[in-house]
Symmetry: C2
Subunit: 105 residues, 2 copies
C-alpha cells in the first residue's frame, strides 16, 4: 500500500465544482506540495499556476491538454503533465482518484 | 490553517457509495488513525468497527445515532460520537468536509 511518511496534511479540503472535484493538500519535508484528489463524473476545465503532473491512480477520463486538438483517453492508471499558467479540460467518465504534483520551475 | 505534521498519508482514496463519500487515511506518529473525508448530498448508512468521533469541518447534514429516534441537525461545524460495532444514518444536505477519528478501546 503506497503511503507518504513524515508529511504535513492540511485538514480542510479544497472544493471545486460543487464538490464534484475535491482534494487534500500534502506538504513534504522538502517543502514541495502535492494534492490527493477525487473527481466524480463530469466535464471540467482547470487552470494551472505552477506546472502540474497529474497521476491517475484509478479512474477513467479524457484529457485535452493545452495547444492540442486530440483528447487523450486514460483508463485505470496514467499520467499527464500540464505546463504552468495554462488551461486543460477533463471529461471524467468514472470516479477518478488522482495525485497532483506542483512543480515550481 | 489547521494542519497535521509528521503524519503518514495513504495515497489511495477510500471510496463508498459510488464515490459520493470518499476519504483519505492519515496515521499519526503514535499509531492512531484518522480519515479526512468528503460526503456529497445523499442518504447513507455506515457501520463502525472501532468507536468513531466525527468532526464536521463544514457542511449541512442530519445524523441518526444508534438507539436514538430523533435526528440531530448539524449546520456548519459540529461533532458526534458513534459507539463501536454499531450503525448510524446520515442525510447529507450539502457538501460535507469531515474528520473521522477511530478510537481503539
Amino acid at each position: 500500500m503506497a503511503e507518504w511518511s513524515n508529511v504535513t496534511v492540511v485538514t480542510k479540503a479544497n472544493l471545486y465544482f460543487d464538490g464534484k472535484v475535491t482534494s487534500r493538500t500534502v506538504v513534504f519535508a522538502d517543502g514541495t506540495k502535492k494534492t490527493l484528489g477525487i473527481m466524480l463524473p463530469g466535464e471540467y476545465e482547470f487552470g494551472t499556476a505552477a506546472k502540474e503532473i497529474m497521476e491517475i491512480q484509478a479512474g477513467e477520463l479524457k484529457v485535452l491538454l493545452p495547444g492540442q486538438s486530440e483528447w487523450q483517453q486514460i483508463s485505470g492508471t496514467g499520467e499527464f503533465t500540464v505546463p504552468a499558467n495554462s488551461k486543460f479540460k477533463l471529461e471524467v467518465q468514472s470516479v477518478t482518484d488522482y495525485i497532483c504534483s506542483y512543480i515550481e520551475e
